[in-house]
């Protein structure tokens, strides 16, 4: 009896998808679709644009499935494809290149300490948000981000550092609370 799709590992499904298995790839989309969409939204894409780019990324991943060797996770692989597609879109608009040295967003303290990551990311400036999401969400290295955004490496590092500092300030109370609740 054939093994059910839900029981199969991502690598196995990707191999079957590379041989033309649309059902197998559909299972991969079901598993990782939300993660890819969430990443794009965290990078600053509007929901409709994020969904468009995520769909394009999965279609491209299906066509290039034979290139996936299972060296990283399938989700990470698709996320990188999606991130690059999104960057191409925004590069056309030249948004981030023009806004690199924009106003400093002041992170107001979160009184309840219950802010989640998505809310915390909204307090970052757009370049910081993009750089942090590319680094920690899409798993891209700093030089890779610098190349993709056509920015100096030092600027990218600076955006990531400042973004993380702001996130740390916003999220630390929530994490401490979450840990306390978990332990208790």
């Amino acid at each position: 009896m054939a093994q059910a799709l839900v029981d199969r590992h991502d690598v196995e499904l990707a191999a079957l998808a590379a041989a033309g298995g649309r059902q197998e790839f559909g299972e991969l989309v079901r598993r990782h679709g939300s993660a890819v969409r969430a990443l794009l939204r965290r990078m600053g894409a509007q929901p409709s644009l994020a969904d468009d780019v995520a769909q394009d990324a999965f279609i491209q991943a299906f066509e290039r499935c034979s290139e996936f060797r299972g060296e990283g996770t399938f989700a990470a692989w698709v996320k990188r494809i999606a991130a690059r597609l999104y960057l191409k879109r925004v590069a056309k608009e030249a948004r981030y290149v023009a806004e690199i040295e924009t106003e400093e967003t002041v992170a107001a303290p979160d009184p309840g300490g219950l802010m989640d990551l998505d809310e915390a990311l909204k307090t970052l400036s757009e370049p910081e948000r993009l750089c942090v999401s590319l680094c920690h969400g899409a798993g891209m290295a700093h030089p890779e981000i610098a190349t993709a955004l056509n920015l100096p490496l030092g600027t990218v590092k600076s955006h990531v550092k400042r973004g993380l500092d702001k996130l740390r300030a916003r999220l630390q109370p929530a994490q401490t609370l979450g840990r306390t609740q978990h332990v208790g």
């Binding site: 939300s34 769909q55 279609i59 990551l117 740390r168």
Partner: protein, 138 residues
Amino acid sequence: MSADEFDPAIERLFARTPSMPDAALFTAQVEQRMQKGSRVRVVVLGLAGLAGAVVAVREVVSVNLNLGEGGGAATTGMGQGFEAVSFNAQTAIQSGLDQAGLGNLAVGSMSGMQMFWIVAGALIAVAAAGVVRLSQEV
């Protein structure tokens, strides 16, 4: 929390997938696009195969007409070449039938054009089957 502790923590937060109420719809849309792309490929490959077959048949008919009119030297040369190919095909098929114990079918009694059309039909059928198979795999 130090920076060293925070970096893995933020990665864990990024790794958490928020639940999206329209996840099923998104999956269906991607599958629909995959299906659509596949259909487009089938149609394009099918049309290409059909166009190729039409051109091939037209060329064959044109050769046939020229032979019938007993045209110039070039046409005569083509005709001779064609007859030689037909004869070789006949010989090969006949020897194959002989080996299979079906020598009494007397392929040699068929005219060159009959044999050509049979071979051409078989080749077109094989090509069409190949296109269909390819479109299923792509």
